[in-house]
């Protein structure tokens, strides 16, 4: 570490204005900030000091995703790692190019987006599509709105919806059969593996996967979503740390259960089955709770979660799509700023009347 520190300090002038590599300054800054705490000091109030900065925030989410990633490697093979690498590389390239073009700093946002994105794709998707989706998500979903913290939509979901509309055939074909046994596919690369219908697609034709399989993740589906157990472990961690807001999760899953109960006239098996299948849990814990694209007010988070939960249940059961979480969360994202506006106004009015 000492060596890297001296190296970074020695080469600093090269990257400052007028230096030989001034154009590469964003990359230098990113390396500096990632490895060490940056030197920048605030010069004006407020001098907020909080150990939980964006970088640590993102690192915590990465830790929470780890169980899902491990489960994914177990069920779908080492190809998952290749997808993650490609996603980071493509998204990172876009980010670096734009940072150099706009002469701004590289943000830590990609750390999470680049990891979440491959986890919501079919495990057999061609790698170039992963790259294209990641680049599109970062460029259109995030950078065009002003970068990390300003995006209206979840960038990973923008990337996925882009792929789903652009290459519908590939996006509905890459469902690799999950590995069985203790080792699963953890030691193979699995590109020529047999593909099969996802539980939700099979359910439309009357075949319902067994509940234990859904719980442990021994079914096909998007890379990181199949194991409800892994999602719950990571999700519980996020809730305890306080990064994911429990209100969003509770509202989303609660309304989903209520609507599903209404559709299946209260059949408990169907409710639990729907709760565990598809990307519902993954979306609830990791996508809908994204602090940037969800509303800020706690009261607004209830409505936001409810919109997503209801929309998911309705899309799943009454449209041609078998899974609705992606569209539902994007729909919720659209409402987030409006909800904030409404609840802030109401809150201010209440305060005025009281005092």
């Amino acid at each position: 570490m000492k060596l890297i520190l001296t190296l970074l300090d020695k080469t600093r002038p090269l990257f400052q204005e007028g230096g030989r590599f001034a154009a590469l300054k964003p990359i230098y800054d990113a390396a500096d900030a990632f490895l060490f705490s940056p030197l920048t000091r605030t010069s004006r109030a407020p001098h907020v000091r909080d150990p939980l900065d964006v970088k640590r925030y993102m690192s915590t989410v990465i830790i929470a995703i780890a169980p899902c990633l491990l489960a994914a490697i177990h069920f779908f093979g080492l190809r998952v790692l290749a997808m993650v690498l490609v996603s980071y590389a493509a998204g990172g390239a876009v980010e670096v190019l734009l940072a150099m073009f706009k002469k701004e700093e590289i943000n830590e946002g990609l750390l999470v987006t680049g990891m979440l994105f491959p986890l919501i794709l079919p495990p057999g998707l061609p790698l170039w599509m992963v790259a294209l989706g990641s680049a599109f998500g970062v460029l259109v979903g995030k950078e065009l709105f002003g970068g990390t913290g300003r995006n209206l939509f979840n960038p990973a979901l923008i990337g996925r919806v882009f792929l789903a509309l652009s290459y519908p055939r590939a996006m509905s074909a890459g469902w690799i059969e999950p590995g069985q046994g203790l080792v699963g596919r953890a030691l193979e690369y699995a590109t020529d593996a047999v593909t099969m219908a996802t539980p939700l697609a099979a359910a439309k034709s009357g075949t319902w996967a067994a509940l234990p399989k859904l719980f442990f993740g021994n079914v096909t589906g998007s890379v990181g979503e199949t194991s409800a157990l892994a999602v719950l472990i990571g999700g519980a961690f996020l809730l305890i740390i306080g990064i994911a807001n429990w209100r969003t999760v509770a509202a989303m899953l609660g309304t989903f259960v209520i609507v599903t109960a209404g559709i299946y006239s209260g059949d408990p098996h169907a409710i639990i089955w729907h709760l565990l299948s598809g990307g519902l849990l993954f979306g609830a814990f990791f996508m809908a709770t994204d602090p940037v694209s969800s509303p800020i007010m706690n009261s607004a988070k209830w409505v936001y979660g409810a919109i997503i939960g209801i929309a998911t249940a309705l899309i799943r059961n009454f449209t041609g799509y078998v899974e609705g979480v992606m569209f539902a969360i994007l729909l919720g994202n659209i409402f987030a700023p409006v909800l904030d506006e409404l609840f802030v106004t109401a809150h201010v009015r209440r305060l005025r009347e009281e005092g």
């Binding site: 259109v140 509309l165 652009s166 290459y167 519908p168 590939a170």
Partner: protein, 223 residues
Amino acid sequence: MAHNDQVVCATCGGSGPCDGKGRETLRAGVWVTNPVSVQVLGICSALAVTNKLENSLVMGAALIFVGVGTNLFVSLLRNVTPRRIRMIAEVAIIATFVIIFDQILKAYYWEMSKQLGPYVGLIITNCIIMGRAEAFALSNRPVVSMLDGLANGLGYAVVLGIIGFFRELVGTGALFGHQVLGADWYTPNQLMILAPGAFIALGFLIALYNAITGINKLEGKGS
């Protein structure tokens, strides 16, 4: 691009039939105040017909034809048209030229006419045509008015051509219906032939235009 801009172009020094603003008019319509990329007019048709390059170009031709004809007649009649009914008069003139173009299309290019569907007829309500008649032809002489119609039609056609080229190439791998990108290695991006693809393509085109002209920087200085 107000009509009283006193810009005298070098070709005729202000004595010709274009009142000395021919070059300026052309430049305004095609580039400076391009109807689609700057004024964001005529978006409905620009999004609807641009999934094929051929359709885009025919639509562009239609707008040039209607624009030139309308501006000529609105300008010729500008001194005898009562101010209160000028809008109705303009619409009547526009509709005449649209119907002429539509009939030609139906008579000689039936397939194309079927593909464009209602969008040729909808030129009657196209803001570009109406806008140019109102803003330019009503207060300018016939020749320069025709030039203005031509310039704005061209501006529209160029933008549609670019979007149509991009969307057909990326969306189907073909140009003018001929496969350009090999079907064995190219996977068509189906989003580009859907309406959202048109929005995305147009958005990037406008962003590119703004980057070239530096419009955003100028606005930033003002605020």
